[in-house]
């Protein structure tokens, strides 16, 4: 018999309905929201890509992953993320109340939205977030065009 009971405070079927409704609403919002990739069961890890004048940034949430277990490759316009998330096993004499965190390996090939200079790629890992910074080659950087008066 468990000595400790765990439950989210204030659970009720009505609240559960509300939660479902909110999630459904969010689903529609996410499906039709501009700019957001249509959410589909993709490949782990999910990524966000952003850019500024000089760089492309690829970010992924990888909490508790040893940075040494990460392998990042840039190959012909693709970014390959490989690695493993390990959850060290706990002592034998424990009882689980919740087990939501998952371990396993991942390998994702991502085709980059623009060409990058494969020699200028930096990766950093902080607070469980991986950031890959990829330099854009000179020829694709935006240029300001001056209008000349005739």
């Amino acid at each position: 018999m468990p000595i400790f009971t765990f439950r989210e405070p204030g659970w009720s079927p009505l609240q559960e309905m509300e939660r479902l409704q909110r999630r459904m609403g969010r689903l529609f919002e996410e499906t039709y929201a501009p700019g957001m990739a249509r959410w589909r069961p993709g490949v782990y890890p999910l990524v966000n890509i952003s850019e500024d004048h000089d760089y492309l940034y690829v970010r992924a949430e990888l909490p508790g992953v040893n940075p040494q277990e990460l392998e990042i490759t840039v190959h012909e316009g693709n970014l390959i993320l490989r690695g493993e998330r390990k959850i060290p096993s706990e002592e034998k004499n424990i009882n689980y109340h919740r087990r939501e965190r998952e371990s396993g390996y991942f390998r994702r090939v991502l085709s980059l939205p623009s060409p990058v200079n494969p020699d200028k790629v930096e990766a950093s890992y902080k607070d469980g977030i991986l950031t890959v910074k990829l330099a854009k080659p000179e020829e694709i950087k935006p240029r300001v065009v001056k209008v000349q008066s005739a």
Binding site: R23, A37, G42, Y44, V47, N48, D52, E102, G128
Partner: protein, 133 residues
């Protein structure tokens, strides 16, 4: 050694409670909770939350964990492709017994919070011997 391939999951939003001062979304962190006869351990994934932005709150047997993220994008960056949302984390638990608050230990590493909640003396299970009458 794990052989399982990880599958992506959409983050679940925390139920709305009152109005928040900080704008943005709030998500429920994925947790592992387990217990030994001496203590309860809670492990929560909160990627993007630095060590000094974690808040623990225990009132009676009500535990709230929350974490604030640092906005991942620098000024001048524009999002071109988005698969996941970012936001703060919060989750509440009802503890079924008494925790020795003076001995709580919390560590935060690589976006994973680990909380050790030692049980108060009287909450530890005791073996009761049946005496022959």
């Amino acid at each position: 050694m794990t052989e399982k391939e990880l599958q992506p999951k959409a983050k679940e939003e925390a139920p709305a409670k009152g109005e928040r001062v900080r704008p943005g979304r709030v998500f429920l962190p994925a947790v592992d909770i387990f217990e030994t006869p001496e203590a309860l351990t809670l492990v929560a994934d909160m990627p993007g939350v630095p060590k000094d932005k974690v808040t623990l709150d225990i009132k009676d047997n009500h535990l709230t964990i929350s974490g604030e993220i640092i906005p991942p994008m620098a000024a001048g960056e524009t999002m071109t492709f988005q698969e996941y949302y970012t936001g703060d984390y919060q989750r509440e638990f009802q503890l079924g017994s008494i925790i020795d608050q003076a001995r709580i230990e919390a560590t935060m590493k690589d976006g994973v919070l680990r909380l050790l909640l030692p049980k108060a003396e009287k909450a530890k299970p005791r073996k009761i011997e049946v005496k022959m009458g």
